[in-house]
Amino acid sequence: MTTPWHASEDLTLRYADGSLPEADAWSLEKHLETCTACATRVSTAVRNTPAGLVLDEVRDLILTATATRPKGARGSDMCGSAAWARPAPTGRHLTTHLKPTLWSLGPALRGTWLLALLTVVVGALLLNRAAGYEATRTLLLTLAPVIPVAGVALSYGPHADPLHEITAATPSGGLRLALTRTAAVLGLSLPALTLTGAALPASGAPGAAAWLLPALALTLGSLTLASYVGCRTATAVTGGGWLAAVLVPAFAAHGGSLTARLAGRLAVCFDGAQPGWAAAAAVCAVLLAVRRDAYDHLENR
């Protein structure tokens, strides 16, 4: 079938910029349905209008974005049953392995406790360097053994972990998770506080590493005690007990400055007693192994 006429240049341009009267536009559209040549010319004219250029740009952007989309990117296309049947991208696999291990380190490492550790470290350095306070190491060593104990308190149990109720019903719950989190707490606080102590002048205080065994013994003691009374009470007893054992005699004694008395008290607790602390840590470790089943239902206690 031959068409009686073709759209003129003027008609095509006026259609493209929208200035053609509606009746004429309709009749042109009717004609375009059957005439490829005119349809191509109109199409070209429309593409050259401002709106056509914007559309082209958008199309290019979308194509570029789709082509360079990173592997493992998650989008709304992941919904529906087809999505989970599709093999997961390798990027996702890596996060599945790595992330939960970090998550399992628990509430302490990303919460209040980490802030407390930082405060002690930065505070001690500032007190010494900026304020020129000579006895800072004495104060640091007094406080240091309490910090890993506090980390245990804030790591495990219904009071510390919002996920505890769910965790307690999984094979990972119990002593293993408590130990993993304690290890993370010790792994951070022991080097951080020892290095801080070493950076401070001695000024009569014990060595910067003298607190390590006592801290280990107190931490293991907390875990053992927790198998009877729960983490919160246990850490309050051990942490509070330590502070009382150091501070009360130091305040009660006479003669010399308070920091000197404190340093003397620390010397008594640390220097001669290291074998005692080691023995205490060993005893607590054995007791904890004996009491491990109690962690299966820790919430009862």
Partner: protein, 249 residues
Amino acid sequence: MTGLRVRHRRTVALDSVDLALGTGVHGLLGPNGAGKTSLIRVLATVAGPSAGRVELLGRDTAEHRALGEVRGRLGYLPQEFGYYPGFTVREFVSYVAWLKEMPAARTPAAVERAVARVGLADRADRKIRTLSGGMVRRVGIAQAIVNAPEVLLLDEPTAGLDPEQRVEFRELLRELGASATVVVSTHLVEDVAAACTEVTLLDSGRVAYRGTPDTLTALGETSDGPGDHPIERGYTAALRAHRATEVLR
């Protein structure tokens, strides 16, 4: 699946409860404080019985080694559960899968599947704290079913769900009950009528009634107790009958 047997004696929450539950959906009904949550927590191995024995999947949960194995095949939705606020739905469910010691290679697919089953696939990357209460409840259901558990314990799973979601959830329950032992505590009698194969009614820490939704409905049809539906009348009738015999004892 050998079913589970519970004998639990405790003066406060549960007293002399003997139950054997097999494959299917078991509704746990009872007034507030009847001991539904206590029973579910004991079954979930979170709380230990002060006396009595709990056997799950043919293993005695008092044994430490058996406990670890049983816990890997459990799913548990607590009545109230916390979450880390920064976690997305997918991260939360993945973390629980990890806690349940699922093989890492199977985890991503299992997580997507669990999230899709509770209708949250389009929100998998949303942080949980931005979700509504009903959606958080569904996240809880997703974490419970992620390991395709053989024993699934759900404490008030329909709390906070709107009627449409509850209907969908009952459908999911029926699916799960085909191959697993599902225990659902609820105070909504119609949930039990629609989705459960068996009903256990608890009152003051004791088993007041055991039967099926049909027998409970039949009980309601022959009684004139309060309630808008036969099964509700059955519920109150069973409760009253139990209390009457308790007084005589």
